[in-house]
């Protein structure tokens, strides 16, 4: 899941649609402590086959509006699309990516942060 600016309080919500290869469903969570961007769609533990999660954080630096995210997660066991919200107007300067549980990412996992400029 994602947390911004070290905020671990229940200031997040999200809505997602996901599938596991046989069933499609939707999940919504409100007032939770992070935006789940890999629910049911992370790579299997120890697998050599990586999962892919792409997160877009819109208008991250403005100090006026709450921050919205749009993400896609993909793996051998699931795909999903998630709309997330952080109810805070602060510019995002810190992003924490972690599992909902105490699971760790295996060696070789990569995380790349890009900035998109308007000009």
């Amino acid at each position: 899941m994602l947390q911004f600016n070290s905020d671990t309080a229940t200031n997040y919500s999200f809505t997602q649609v996901y599938g596991n290869g046989s069933t499609a469903a939707s999940l919504r969570q409100t007032s939770v402590n992070g935006i789940w961007v890999g629910y049911g769609a992370y790579s299997q533990a120890g697998s050599t086959n990586p999962g892919t999660i792409i997160v877009n954080i819109q208008n991250y630096a403005n100090a006026t509006t709450y921050k919205a995210t749009l993400s896609r997660a993909n793996s051998r066991i699931g795909v999903e699309a998630t709309a997330g919200l952080w109810r805070n107007t602060a510019a995002i300067s810190t992003i924490v990516i972690k599992h909902q549980t105490a699971t760790t990412y295996i060696a070789g996992s990569t995380f790349t942060l890009y900035g998109i400029a308007a000009a």
Partner: protein, 169 residues
């Protein structure tokens, strides 16, 4: 420094194209993104992307799609290409082309290759689809060639394909 760089593009000409190929892809970027806006010449609404000209049954997929009236999820193994591309068929609303993103993270690395596909084929009628696909190409070779091709028929004129390299430095 630009981080999103156009590597090559291809807009299909008047004769149509059965395959669109990007070859000699440099290994100098972090990720690849293929943006495709195709339309089919026949009653075929899907297209695939083959990696490194490997047509063996080495690919797996898992996807979710919505048709406007239902949502479903499916999966498969032993595919001969990365599936999940969507295009309007020949009978769909005229002048409509699909909208597809194929994202290849760590395409030049030594791990198995994953592909994330977002695809839509809109149509001013009941038949249309929005689809998300997770493709797996369990080969460790760096990606240096991509071939896009429809399930049958060809891509029509004005179908467009843009390949970008994304660099993190």
């Amino acid at each position: 420094m630009p981080t999103f760089t156009l590597i090559a593009s291809n807009t299909v000409g008047s004769g149509g194209a059965a395959t669109v190929t990007f070859s000699s892809i440099p290994a100098t970027y972090t990720d690849l993104v293929l943006l495709a806006s195709p339309r089919g010449s026949v009653a075929e609404d899907g297209f695939s992307v083959r990696i490194n000209n490997d047509s063996a049954t080495n690919y797996e997929f898992l996807q979710i799609n919505g048709s406007g009236s239902a949502v479903a999820s499916s999966s498969g193994t032993a595919s001969s290409a990365a599936v999940g591309g969507r295009q309007p068929e020949s009978g769909y609303t005229a002048n409509v082309f699909g909208n597809n993103q194929f994202y290849f993270p760590n395409y030049a690395g030594s791990k198995n290759k994953a592909v994330a596909v977002d695809a839509v084929n809109e149509n001013n009628a009941t038949a249309a689809r929005t689809q998300f696909t997770s493709d797996l190409y369990p080969q460790t070779t760096a990606i240096s060639r991509l071939d896009a091709f429809p399930g049958s028929g060809a891509f029509v004129q004005y179908s467009s394909f843009y390949l970008y390299g994304i660099s993190n430095a």
